[in-house]
Subunit: 281 residues, 3 copies
């Protein structure tokens, strides 16, 4: 069991030089060196979907910040109106090769391992809807603030698409809302409007949209007031069991994803879902 | 760990031909083929106690519905006024042979394994008090609606009788109300009036008695709106750990029950409890 | 898994003769033989810190009561105004020998193993602030009543001192408040004012200071109304997993404590903390 003085999770480094400030294609990263707080702003219209490119950029950006001694915390938010992130990009899961599915799924796992296991303080400033994988990003942070607009909803709604949230999505969810709420919401594929999300503890607080940035900065300051080392070891102690479970079953999880997603019935329901989304536009 | 594309729990079939509609001695089963929803109505006066006969009939009825493609969900309710189910039949545990205790306990286990692991949507429409094993039946469903009458109470009150709820009753309870509420209520053998039960999450909502049936049908419709396969896999992912624990320790659990229930001190306290119940009448 | 008829945790006895009533240096123990309820009153000014002497006396007193058939429950409270217990005595962790650290840590473990695993009903009557180890004492009881004064706070604030709560402090905390609240409060080292502590379930109820004793006695009577044997087995079933985890890793946990506490950086931050406390006076 994790205990006094144990090291926290350390993933192997990506082969990248550290860097102070950088912008990319799909994520805008800004680091305020005076406060030690970075902002990762998702700007991948129309809906910040978690494509392979997005995930790769996410992991590289997070790794850079993790290795940057000037950075102690990250705020995640969206530059796209009304949407935080729509979750996994369905086009990556439809009509592609087995190799592509494997690469994509490994990138999804990597994103979660790095975010849920981050040594930095992570705050989700949820300024729009956040279904499925978008919800996972928020759940993996240390604290979740959401805009109080009831039109914005959040949840692991995989079941509504005919698919099943992976066990580590579930573990992350249970750690936040407890077993009963997780069981009910996962089976129903519930997307909860912001006020409902607050009620079940899926988010920690609601604020008016114009106060979101300010609130995120204030919360971050509160968390950064703690000594890094003790806070990091504590976070690791709380999350290690769940992180280790995926690390131990990573290849098996990829194979399960591939065999599930390759089924004709699943491909068909994903195609239907995409058609529906196109019509909505 | 359970994950994408894993099958859900499948118990060995009972040797019974499937059948559309059937009535029995202690449970009335009605299947509405248009909606795919069955109702299992307990009609074993005076208190719907879970006798060996009742449990056998329960398992057979549930198995029939599980194997019936026309059935996707089951509502459990009582045909006896003021009582949902009084729980395990104490006469089955008093002054009987070791073989009888073993047979009875195996039937209790079987009931729970089939109900908690059911692939169908299960809704408890709790229209009366529901102590001990009656509470377990409700806890094992996907959703619990209770009549808002504060005279009706529900809980795992085994400790009040001088006995201990089995570990899998406890696991099921913890999965619904969390560790703290479970610890407190199990130690105190708490029977909670409906409003208290709602407060701690032991039931999901309260309705006036005359609205119970209508509400159960509405909730069922909401759950049946989800694709069966994804919902079933999700349910299995949430419940598998706890189901597997009993499957792995089933014979040991039977032996433990027998040696516990055979103690003279326990036999004595059960006899006293039965005397008290008789006087109450 | 624990189940029907399994024995509860039995620690090896301390080599002490049982005794009816006794007073000591740092803890006043009174046993009311008519009710079977003892009170352990902490009287180690200025702040009831858990020194090696205090812990040794605590374990001896608890063991005596545990072995005394006239005693069925214990109420823990403070004889020092405004403070329940300030937690582990930092002077025991600063500038001492490795042997001393080992002896001290073993005593901390022993206190928790005996209290969390006690067969008696344990009620914390929290009549003052209760940080860190003081909070652990309260968390390890069956029920927590706190004085409703918002100036009194409670919590596992180790992170604020630059140290990490041991895994079994964390396990005990999670069992009371759930994973999410524990994760947040442990990372922030939160000390919650009494009303906040009630809100997250860290304590079970608040009362005016003058009603505390009366309430503790009433709660104790409610718990003692249950048959001891069933209640004890139920308690053991709920707590065994977490108790066993420390028993299995006890020596490792001591070594971890020693190597952590021996670090110069930790020694320095503890010295600074003690300086700050002295200035406060």
């Amino acid at each position: 069991p994790p205990t006094w003085g144990r090291g926290s999770l350390r993933l192997p480094s990506l082969p990248l030089a550290p860097c102070r400030a950088f912008s990319n294609n799909k994520i805008l990263v800004e680091l305020d060196e005076s406060s030690g707080v970075a902002t990762m702003k998702f700007k991948s219209p129309p809906v910040n979907s978690l494509s392979l490119d997005f995930l790769t950029e996410f992991c590289i950006s997070l790794e850079k910040l993790e290795n940057d001694r000037a950075c102690r915390g990250v705020i995640f938010t969206s530059a796209v109106p009304k949407i935080f992130s729509s979750g996994l990009d369905i086009t990556e899961m439809c009509g592609k090769s087995t190799e592509h599915y494997a690469e994509f799924w490994r990138a999804v796992q990597e994103m979660w391992l790095r975010l849920y296991g981050s040594n930095m303080v992570t705050v989700a400033a949820v300024n729009g809807s956040s279904p499925a994988g978008g919800c996972l990003v928020a759940l993996s942070c240390d604290y979740r603030i959401m805009v109080e607009n009831p039109k914005f909803s959040i949840g692991l709604n995989e079941a509504q698409l005919g698919i099943v949230a992976p066990f580590w999505f579930k573990d992350t969810f249970v750690n936040v809302v407890g077993h009963r709420v997780a069981e009910r919401c996962l089976q129903l594929g519930s997307l909860l409007p912001a006020p409902e999300a607050l009620k079940v503890g899926l988010v920690d607080e609601l604020v008016p949209e114009e106060k979101l940035q300010e609130k995120a900065v204030a919360v971050m300051a509160q968390w950064l007031a703690l000594p890094d080392h003790a806070r990091q070891l504590t976070k690791s102690m709380m999350r290690k069991v769940v992180l280790d479970r995926l690390v131990a079953h990573r290849e098996e999880d990829i194979q399960n994803f591939i065999s599930f997603i390759s089924k004709e019935s699943i491909q068909k329901s994903l195609r239907m879902y995409m058609e529906m989304l196109k019509k909505k536009k």
